[in-house]
């Protein structure tokens, strides 16, 4: 048996020895080097650009501009972004290509003998810009004084989702208590260890090829093919070892421009590969972030805490381009009422263009924003009614057969009640909290018993597994079984799969599932991954979907290969494309529809210590409880839980991206503070439950985003428990915590 065992991940040795080759390690010997020139203009129209000096500079081979791009547009869900901003119309493009809407819009690519030559030449490019009004944030965007994408419509608010369920007025009229609050959510930077890097070349079959790191090889290839006007089969994308993605490599960074370089070099008769690696600063400025936003919410409940109505209005700052904003918005929309029975609801959610860094995919994909509000509202309700936070959830939880917020019956296997109960049990939430332990010497401060308050917080939720809202959801796998004609059973197997190994351990899991499905021992399974030339379309490494979707594709391919094996074929080849149950986009007026086919359920209990004289917070204990359906690899599941908690810890406590007038002020890891080893929670207890998803492979559910999603509201609730003060925005930097504590009249006497 391979599924369910903590096999050593297939890339463990190469990663710990440093032998693994990330994209920046793969610089071919004869490579040219590219510098991608950013506009550095949050909003401006290009009058002219002079590249003559750059083109004539030492070591320069070519300077590419907008005129070099056949179809100068791209975007995962809408073609609303020029590949290279520049002058000269392009009749095949919908978006005005001479306007920079983001400081990191690309304006040119300099190809030179060395990175130094390329950088020096890039500085010689002269651009005449006509300044346009910068739409700095949601407040300015909602005025619609300046419309950033007139081709999309007459408002910066370019996408709205609605839910109209029951009778909201009646619901609030029935409420004994109403909780009303506005919440503000911050950006978050992905901060993957490995910055964007790529190599472009023409492969032996003449294909335009890019080796990089991403989350979906086939989608990268489609984006390249569109912009370069190439047939899809003339484009090849493969992934090197990927040093983290978290949604931040879902969209294009270097893919299209490096393919463009390869094509133009070929046109010039230069048969050399071209390489580019961004600096950390370029990475932080040059890729999207978790959306910042504002959410107004109202929650009504009867005296027992049973929800009577929910109202919410969500605004996400999409930044300069859509990226995946409309889809992220959908997840915020679905989660903002929580995983509860809500008889009456009115929810309006909007994506809004600004000149800030684009918002896009990031672990949880809108779920963290929506769930933060839903769970903060529920915790405030519990306090208002003096009902235990766990108990009040028990009175409202979705169950099997429940109607979800969009009117559809929940997919079978709703296990939130079991998850909540298990979390409360392990965390002993009904017991009093122990006294504050000493602040550890590494975490900033010694004990000052008089100033330390302790508190406990709870949050629960759900997150869809797989693509939503009718997006085609399929995944291909191919398995080859090897052996002699007389062998009863295969002696070895090959698995060909496109799914991206972004650090989560997907490829090991694919090998384990192949072993399990074929009966071949794990150590006789060989994996061949993430190359459009050898593997079918897997869909992306996102939405907690890969184990679920790839597992089902592998089961199908194994069955096909088994048939071939019984027919005497050697190798016995099985190909399969798994198609998930269909989902629906929501009715534009009522929000009705069945958006998802599977969910994962989670609950977290968090204990914190707060130094009320400095605002410093330490998280002492986290109980993170998850129904994963079936554990494929227990070590990897635990790794995902602890990793997600640490990432969410940074989101709620320390990571403070400052974006002013369309510019990121702190694009460095010395001033954008991700948690270090001395800052993360002292104890994370992973509680893993295996309550099968009826449709999951071996019963598995997705789980990679879930431990992230409930952490912020749980910490905020614990902070309230400790201090008596509710926070409706974060990160909880010490100065913000201190200022909020001292602003609150109720706490004045306590602290000052």
């Amino acid at each position: 048996m391979s599924v369910g065992t903590p096999t050593l991940r297939q890339d463990a040795r190469e990663k710990v020895t440093g032998a693994a080759t990330f994209p920046a390690d793969l610089v071919p010997k004869d490579a040219l080097h590219a510098k991608v020139v950013f506009s550095n203009q949050p909003h401006a129209r290009m009058r002219s650009m002079d590249t003559a000096a750059a083109a004539g500079a030492a070591g320069v081979v070519a300077v590419l501009t907008a005129a070099d791009v056949p179809v100068n547009e791209y975007g995962l869900t809408a073609f609303d972004q020029p590949v290279l901003v520049g002058v000269g119309s392009n009749e095949r493009v919908g978006v005005a290509v001479d306007v920079s809407r983001w400081e990191a819009d690309h304006v040119a690519v300099v190809i030179a003998e060395t990175p130094e030559h390329a950088a020096a030449a890039a500085a010689l490019i002269e651009i005449d810009w006509e300044a346009l009004p910068v739409v700095a944030d949601l407040t300015e965007a909602l005025r619609d004084d300046t419309i950033l994408h007139p081709e999309v419509g007459g408002s910066n608010t370019y996408h709205t989702l609605k839910i109209r369920k029951g009778d909201v007025e009646a619901g609030f009229a029935d409420a004994a208590v109403t909780i009303e609050q506005t919440y503000r959510l911050p950006h978050q930077e992905h901060a993957y260890l490995q910055v964007e890097a790529a190599t472009g070349w023409i492969d032996h079959d003449g294909r335009v090829s890019v080796e990089t790191s991403g989350q979906w090889t086939h989608e990268d290839a489609e984006q390249i093919a569109h912009a370069l006007d190439l047939p899809l089969d003339r484009v090849r994308v493969r992934y090197a070892t990927i040093g983290g993605a978290f949604g931040g490599k879902e969209d294009m960074s270097l893919q299209i421009v490096m393919a463009l370089c390869a094509v133009r070099l070929r046109d010039l008769g230069i048969n050399r590969p071209v390489h580019c690696c961004w600096s950390r600063e370029e990475s932080i400025i040059g890729h999207h972030k978790r959306h910042r936003g504002v959410i107004k919410a109202r929650l009504g409940a009867d005296r027992r805490g049973v929800i009577t109505a929910v109202e919410a209005e969500v605004w996400l700052d999409a930044g300069a381009y859509n990226y995946t904003s409309t889809k992220v918005l959908g997840n915020a929309h679905l989660s903002v009422a929580g995983a509860y029975l809500v008889p009456n609801a009115r929810i309006d959610s909007h994506a809004v263009y600004t000149n800030a860094v684009p918002g896009g995919a990031f672990r949880g994909f809108g779920g963290p924003q929506g769930t933060f509000v839903a769970e903060s509202q529920m915790n405030r309700l519990a306090e208002a009614l003096r009902i235990d936070p766990v108990e009040i959830r028990r009175r409202n939880l979705l169950e099997d057969g429940s109607e979800g917020i969009t009117g559809a019956i929940m997919p079978k296997g709703v296990t939130l009640r079991q998850v909540v109960d298990a979390c409360a049990d392990v965390a002993s939430t009904s017991e009093p909290l122990a006294a504050a332990p000493l602040f550890s010497p590494i975490a900033t401060l010694p004990a000052e018993a008089a100033a330390v308050r302790r508190g406990r917080g709870f949050a629960a939720g759900y997150k869809n597994v797989g693509f939503s809202f009718g997006f085609p959801e399929r995944c291909e796998a191919e398995i080859h079984l090897h052996g002699d004609a007389e062998d009863e059973v295969p002696v070895s197997a090959d698995i060909f799969h496109g799914g991206a190994e972004v650090g989560q351990g997907a490829h090991e899991v694919f090998c384990q599932m192949t072993a399990e499905a074929t009966g071949v021992p794990r150590d006789r399974v060989r994996g061949h991954f993430s190359d459009t030339a050898t593997s079918g379309d897997s869909g992306s490494a996102s939405a907690s979907r890969l184990t679920w979707m790839a597992g089902n594709s592998i089961l199908g391919a194994a069955e096909e290969a088994e048939k071939a094996w019984r027919n005497g074929e050697r190798p016995a080849v099985g190909q399969f494309c798994f198609v998930a149950p269909p989902t629906e986009s929501l009715n534009p007026e009522t929000g009705e529809g069945n958006p998802n086919f599977s969910y994962g359920y989670m609950a977290q209990a968090v204990e914190v210590s707060v130094d009320v004289e400095t605002g410093h917070i330490r998280v002492d204990r986290v109980v993170s409880t998850h129904d994963v359906g079936k554990t494929i690899n227990p070590a990897l599941v635990k790794g995902q839980i602890e990793g997600a908690v640490v990432q969410a810890h940074g989101y709620v406590l320390s990571e403070n991206l400052v974006v002013e007038q369309g510019r990121i002020i702190n694009p460095r890891l010395s001033s954008y503070l991700i948690p270090g080893i001395g800052d993360i929670p002292e104890h994370v207890e992973s509680v893993v439950m295996e309550l099968a998803d009826p449709l999951g492979p071996w019963g598995a559910r997705g789980m990679a985003e879930m431990p992230y999603i409930t952490y912020a509201p749980a910490v905020i609730a614990a902070l309230h428990d400790a201090t008596g003060v509710w926070f409706s925005e974060f990160p909880l930097t010490p100065s913000r915590v201190l200022a909020t504590l001292s602003d609150d009249a109720a706490t004045d006497s306590l602290f000052f």
């Binding site: 004289e613 320390s654 403070n656 702190n666 270090g676 001395g678 930097t733 010490p734 100065s735």
Partner: protein
């Protein structure tokens, strides 16, 4: 993020280092552990055309018993200071503060003399020198001179060390029975202090050095005076930010730093009071 080009010279001993300094003048900088200078060079805040590497001068790494004071060679690494038995028994405040500098990698490379000569208000060790009323031996072509802590730090990243001089020794008065405390607040463990505070209470005298509360390392004179006149910790600490001029940045506003100075000083005075023999 890449330093400008420079020439490299290695000094065999202090005399050699001084003659190289005399030769290259203002263009040269001394390189010890490299943990202050190299980051500055990477940011191009320092652009020396010559680096004189004094890191291999072995005879400037020592902790000696000088009678009333500890004599510590300028090139003694942080790790060797924090683990030195003499330092731990005679100047435990220095041992404690040194143990909170950076992380183990930094402490195995960085030196006490380099840290002090850098004159960084955000560094931990200047606050100790101020609180313990230590001094610095500076050696130049015409011999050595001893500078008290209060004379040593003159401005932002500026000290009283002349262009042809080098720090050769640090002297820390012994304070075996004194009460002491080192407090440090940072946004992230092992980062630079947002604010820090060193306190030494020895009988009636009290020394308070602050980290990151001005453009140079400063003493909280008003607190020292209040303690000397019999004020308790809480009321003495109220004047901790008096006369200070901390910066505002993304990590903390000046007002928040001033608040932290009061809180940390109160805690340090209380802890020092308890540890006093």
């Amino acid at each position: 993020m890449i330093p400008a080009a420079f020439d490299y010279e290695r000094a065999d001993n202090a005399e050699h280092a001084l003659s190289l300094l005399a030769e290259h003048g203002d263009e040269a900088k001394l390189l010890a552990g490299g943990h202050s200078l190299i980051p500055l060079m990477k940011y191009r805040l320092a652009v020396p055309s010559v680096l004189i590497d004094i890191g291999r001068i072995g005879d400037l790494s020592y902790v000696n018993d000088g009678g009333d004071a500890l004599h510590i060679g300028a090139l003694t690494r942080h790790r060797d200071v924090e683990t030195n038995e003499l330092v731990r028994s005679e100047a435990p405040l220095l041992a404690r503060a040194t143990s909170s500098v950076g992380d183990p990698q930094v402490r195995h490379r960085g030196t006490i003399g380099g840290s002090l000569a850098h004159g960084d208000p955000a560094s931990d060790l200047p606050s100790v020198l101020l609180a313990m009323r230590g001094s610095v031996i500076v050696t130049g072509p015409s011999g050595s001179r001893e500078l008290a802590a209060d004379e040593f730090f003159t401005g932002f990243l500026e000290t009283a060390v002349g262009p042809d001089e080098m720090v050769t020794e640090i002297r820390i008065p012994k304070a075996p029975g004194a009460g002491w405390s080192f407090q440090k607040f940072n946004r992230r463990a092992q980062d630079w202090a947002i604010v820090g505070c060193s306190v030494l209470v020895d009988g009636d005298t009290c020394g308070v050095g602050l980290v990151n509360m001005d453009i140079r390392p400063v003493r909280a004179s008003a607190v020292e005076a209040a303690v000397a006149s019999g004020a308790d910790a809480a009321s003495a600490a109220e004047s901790a930010a008096e006369g200070s001029d901390p910066t505002s940045d993304l990590n903390a506003s000046a007002e928040y730093r001033q608040h932290l100075a009061r809180v940390l000083t109160k805690r340090a005075l209380e802890e020092a009071g308890k540890s006093s023999a």
